[in-house]
Assembly symmetry: C2
Homo-oligomer: 226 residues x 2
DNA sequence: AAAATAAAAAGTGTCGACAATTTAGCTTTT
DNA sequence: AAAAGCTAAATTGTCGACACTTTTTATTTT
């Protein structure tokens, strides 16, 4: 699983470092979704004082990975189907717009970089063990690049700084929402084309379809199970 | 200026209360945009310890009202034209989607409530001193109701918990981005109609246009000044 | 006089202790 | 036996002090 997102900045303080450790523990499920967080216990685990642990918890709250109630404590967020679908709805809106902005704002260099990445993914897709690479880091790389290409700091913060932590958490723990490998690659190609053509309107439509397709894919799986 | 958003929960701890006070001070400019925040000074002002002040600062950071650098300190965010336009772009995407979801998810009661609100605004618009009411709380009320109507907790959190604090801050301090009173009212009416018709596609389009129109209004003003 | 260096002041990060609140377990009551 | 009330334990919130970093000021050097 891709561990970091492209906007993480160097962890200088100990609270930063512990934050990153707990972040990863939550994302890959070592600390279970929905579980209660005991400040004294965690502080002892990481061998820090409760104050700096609380500082770390504040950053986790900023990422929406834990929720806090006054005088009661913190819990790791739950992973539910409904929650996953909510995230897809937000992604459809935000990444669609990010894609539109990217078509206007990406530099030629950035676009070339994306094309190169796609080429690399194409070969990696064939080479590496089946589709696994493209199903994981490769897909995230693509989406991160588009988001950064928007050059809109608000979009970047919300998506990379918050939502994508949850995306990775769901991907790690649910498994059912990995990208549909074969189709996703083609869709990515067309999106890059639209960006390269500076066609923001089309780029947004394609990205929205791309994300909506994943969401519907999950909705179908759920419907079948019932 | 509408002081609170509909998702604020009761402030039980002293850090909560100080957070709210500083929030308001930043939003209406009593603490200036871009200014440095001195922890010892603020702690003395509010007569609390530095620890609980830092707790309050963490919440302000969550709202994107202050920014923090390790070992250096916190600053209130800057208000710039570019920043304002960025926010409009995000709002267009998120509120457009919220409006689409509202068309699916609002209860009949909620829709009736919105219609009643609009009627009240219509009379208030005529009565009160010109357009001022509708330019401020009235407009926010409408947008908040639509957002809540989406019944999507992620959307609600991002918009009410974060972005709208900035919206109110810009509105307070810039002034140039108040709603275009005469047109806004009609646009609101049509949006509610689309929601009542359960036409999510149209509702999204109308909301996006509504917000994009405000953004373009500002872009034009800027263009004229240069 | 300008630049570089060193010392001092101010500011942020971390710690351990105490206060206030919640939770758990026990006793009492019906 | 179930519910209510009470006591004790555990947990969270707040405080003041100390450690480390950054910034400012003063001094020296070129």
């Amino acid at each position: 699983m891709a561990l970091d997102n492209p906007t993480t900045q160097a962890a200088v303080t100990t609270a930063d470092k512990v934050f990153e450790q707990i972040l990863h523990a939550i994302v890959n499920g070592n600390i279970k979704a929905g579980s209660k967080i005991s400040e004294p216990e965690l502080a002892k685990n990481y061998q820090i004082s409760r104050s700096t642990l609380r500082e770390a918890l504040n950053r986790l709250e900023k990422c929406h990975l834990i929720e806090r109630k006054a005088n009661v404590g913190s819990r790791v967020v739950e992973c539910s189907i409904a929650g996953l679908l909510e995230i897809y709805v937000v992604r459809e809106a935000l990444e669609g717009m990010a894609c539109r902005q990217a078509a206007s704002n990406m530099t030629e260099d950035e676009i070339m970089e994306m094309k190169a990445m796609l080429k690399q993914h194409a070969s990696a897709k064939a080479l590496r063990d089946g589709v696994s690479y493209y199903q994981e880091e490769g897909d995230l790389d693509f989406h991160y690049k588009v988001i950064l290409g928007s050059h809109n700091q608000q979009l970047i913060n919300i998506l990379c700084g918050q939502l994508y932590h949850l995306v990775r958490m769901y991907r790690c723990q649910f498994g059912m929402n990995s990208p549909r490998a074969t189709k996703a690659f083609d869709e990515h190609s067309r999106i890059i084309e639209a960006i390269a053509d500076r066609d923001g309107e089309l780029a947004e439509i394609l990205m929205r379809r791309h994300i909506a397709a994943s969401r519907k894919n999950i909705e179908n799986k759920i419907a079948l199970q019932q």
